[in-house]
């Protein structure tokens, strides 16, 4: 089979509008600014109809992959999500999390091959919640949407991925979530075989995507590896292997499309640094990690603290300087929420 024919199998048709957004449970704690940035880009910049449903819950992916929640329970929770989407009048499901993306596809694939399981889950959902649902017409990860609109974002770019000090494109290494690229490789754009979903954004926005030997290696977040503290040595060993592999290419930053990957590649750099006094970036610092929404936000000129870069353990300020982005360091930890609370307190005092 020729490469072009292969690539055709991995190139998805992405709907242009009317999305039902499924937030990630862990991401709202790790990098809460990313999802807000995604919604702002779609609603304000692109003018798309995307519904952020407050009734949505965890897909139970972490518990399912850790053998804590049974398959039927997980499928029923997912069926409720489909039901919420049907109720809201949408057919294009956009999960923020790659594990949810893999899970939704796994459920639909199971039902396709075993219709009796779908019937059973419909019954279980009806008995437990009195809900019914239609299956989504399309499931695409949020990074697929940004990839789909990358050229429009490029047209609005205020800070292209260029080192303003040298005029050279920024060198970017990517990490694509395993649950996005490896469980159902043909459901994402490029899968693990042609990992273009992030490198396509990087190229469009002026950066240079750098291939590295362990590009497709797990980041180390594998749930079983991490949940038990005694096993975390396996988790961090995977991340260490990736950092060792990418460091010789002197990347300016890492971009990831998975909530857990971005978090672990960020936090584990600090942990490895503390354990071994070994740092993988320039000048004894770590390599900054961005989610694809944060990368898009910076390119579009959003305030670094408004998109949540202060939540990163590996400092992003060296990257901001390279991109020539001006920022107010004093406002780094001055959250809007704090200001609102202070205003409320002042009003009460008065």
């Amino acid at each position: 089979m020729s490469v072009s024919k292969n690539w055709k199998n991995y190139n998805q048709q992405i709907p242009d509008d009317r999305y039902y957004y499924a937030r990630s449970c862990i991401r709202q704690n790790f990098f809460p600014g990313s999802e807000k940035t995604f919604l702002t880009i779609l609603q304000d910049l692109l003018g798309k109809d995307i519904y952020d449903d407050p009734k949505h819950t965890s897909c139970t992916g972490i518990a399912y992959h850790s053998d804590i929640i049974p398959f039927e329970t997980m499928m029923t929770v997912v069926a409720r999500h489909f039901s919420l989407m049907t109720e809201a009048g949408y057919k294009n499901l956009v999960p923020s999390c790659v594990t949810s993306f893999g899970l939704y596809n796994e459920v639909l694939e199971t039902w396709e091959h075993h219709p009796e399981v779908e019937t059973k889950i419909r019954e279980m959902l009806w008995k437990s919640t009195r809900r019914e649902f239609e299956k989504p017409e399309a499931i695409m990860h949020a990074s697929d949407i940004i990839y789909h609109f990358r050229d429009i974002i490029s047209d609005h770019a205020q800070n292209p991925l260029i080192n303003v000090q040298t005029g050279e494109p920024l060198k970017v290494v990517d990490h694509i979530g395993c649950h996005y690229a490896k469980i159902f490789p043909s459901k994402g754009i490029g899968g693990a075989e042609f990992p273009i979903v992030l490198s396509g954004m990087v190229s469009s926005w002026g950066g240079q995507s750098v291939d590295y030997p362990e590009r497709r290696h797990c980041c180390g977040f594998g749930f079983r590896q991490y949940l038990v503290k005694a096993n975390r040595g396996y988790s961090i060993a995977n991340s260490y292997r990736k950092f060792e592999s990418m460091a010789p290419y002197k990347p300016d930053f890492i971009v990831a499309n998975c909530p857990g990957c971005a978090m672990f590649l960020d936090r584990w750099q600090y942990t490895i640094g503390e354990m071994k006094n070994e740092w993988f970036g320039a000048n004894g610092q770590g390599i900054p990690i961005l989610t694809y929404e944060e990368m898009a936000g910076l390119v579009l000129g959003f305030d670094p603290w408004a998109i949540g870069l202060q939540m990163h353990q590996t400092d992003c300020e060296p990257l901001l300087k390279k991109m020539g982005i001006s920022y107010d360091r004093d406002k780094k930890f001055s959250l809007k929420r704090k200001t609102i609370l202070l205003n409320v307190l002042e009003e009460e005092i008065q």
Partner: protein, 109 residues
């Protein structure tokens, strides 16, 4: 100063098949045929007198020896006290004490 988090970075378990040397393992199988009966249950490691204080892992040493990585754990074999409890508890009747002794002699020869 390095910091401890209660776990460390696991060493890679990658095996380079081009660098394996099965000569010691083949010799061991000739000298102590009962070693073929091992099912890797780990009872030997679980009851080992030396294990709690030294981290000696008979099952791991045996596995790597059989795999052809004999040179990787010369120092590890020094931890064995030859008490023979491993042989007593082996459900397959492998003479593990003799296996340890033979491994040491083969490597040192």
């Amino acid at each position: 100063m390095t910091h401890s988090f209660g776990y460390s970075i696991s060493q890679s378990r990658e095996t380079n098949w081009d660098k394996l040397d099965h000569r010691f393992a083949d010799k061991l199988l000739d000298l102590e045929p009962s070693v073929r009966l091992c099912v890797g249950c780990g009872s030997c490691t679980g009851t080992c007198t030396a294990a709690p204080r030294s981290g000696f892992d008979i099952r791991k040493v045996h596995t790597r020896f059989r795999r052809g990585e004999a040179g990787a754990f010369v120092a590890e074999l020094e931890k064995c006290m030859f008490c023979g409890k491993c042989s007593m508890v082996c459900p397959r009747g492998v003479n593990i004490r003799n296996v340890m002794d033979l491994m040491k002699k083969l490597i040192e020869a």
